[in-house]
């Protein structure tokens, strides 16, 4: 049972993944930038920095996956 062609699904996934990964990359990079002057001895600040770095890596993984699929 299919509602739309498979190609449409592929392009939908491509578009959504690229859009969200790019937005995620910008958002977590911006979060990291905001924390540049924060006290890194504070565990909460360190948690945030770690989380945002993981977010940036995840976003890059998403973008690379899309590029791999289309090359």
């Amino acid at each position: 049972m299919t509602f739309v062609p498979h190609a449409a699904i592929v392009w939908f996934v491509t578009t959504v993944t690229m859009a969200l990964s790019s937005a995620w990359l910008v958002y977590d990079s911006w979060n990291l930038w905001r924390l540049r002057g924060a006290d890194r001895k504070d565990p909460l600040v360190r948690d945030k920095i770690f989380g945002y770095v993981i977010g940036v890596i995840t976003a890059v993984v998403g973008i690379v996956g899309v590029l791999r699929y289309h090359t």
Binding site: I9, D42, L44, V45, F50, G51, I54, T58, G65
Partner: protein, 219 residues
């Protein structure tokens, strides 16, 4: 994973004014509230998902997982609108995330839509993380959910993993890239929950420490 407790709008003004008199005791929230109802409704997407995968209807499976992911976002919004955020709600949300996405991953692995070894490893790490969280609650002595910024991002990735497998989109790459990230985050969170000092009990305005007051200011 929705973020039910990270930006408590109602207490932010109290947090800003540290010289203000102590607020009254935190409002008790029933577990039977609209936000938890939305969270629980996510389980209803699982039977259609299983049926769709079993019959090979990948587009219906995709719709089911999209609805599940959207409800994950809606429950946080409902909690804010109805002012029914609670520690239990946050914990229930995290458990529902694990059950829903775990179920979907298992189904996908069983039907050969996702690499079984990667799925088993990811679920094992997720289970280990849950055990660490339970030990953390025992250490702290009250129902508290350790807020892991990194795990929040990986849970979002897990939702995507289900979508990639359903759409058969770079499945091997995404699943095997996810695992090392998961290992690093679980190790980091284990250290924070099991070895680092226990956070102090919450103050009257809901903040637990100076650093949390700073966090509420949005640093």
């Amino acid at each position: 994973m929705s973020n039910r407790m990270s930006n408590p709008m109602s207490s932010s003004s109290a947090a800003r004014s540290t010289s203000a008199p102590p607020a009254t005791a935190p409002r008790l929230v029933s577990p039977y509230n609209p936000a938890n109802a939305v969270t629980a409704s996510r389980f209803l997407t699982l039977p259609p998902f299983l049926w769709a995968v079993h019959h090979g209807h990948y587009q219906i499976a995709a719709v089911a997982i999209v609805v599940c992911a959207l409800l994950d976002k809606v429950d946080g919004l409902v909690a804010k609108v109805f002012d029914c955020r609670s520690s239990f709600g946050e914990l229930f949300d995290a458990i529902t995330d694990g059950v829903c996405y775990g179920f979907c991953l298992i189904v996908l692995a069983v039907y050969g839509w996702a690499p079984a070894v990667a799925v088993v490893a990811a679920l094992g790490l997720g289970g280990l993380n849950s055990v660490f969280r339970a030990i953390h609650i025992k250490r702290v002595g009250r129902p508290v959910n350790y807020k892991s910024y990194a795990m929040e991002r990986l849970v979002g990735f897990i939702a995507y993993l289900v979508g990639f497998a359903v759409a058969r989109y770079e499945v091997t790459y995404y699943y095997w890239t996810f695992l090392p990230l998961m290992v690093v985050v679980v190790a980091h969170d284990a250290k924070r929950m099991l070895l680092d000092p226990v956070p102090p009990p919450p103050a009257a305005d809901g903040a637990t420490s100076t650093s949390e007051l700073v966090a509420k200011e949005g640093v």
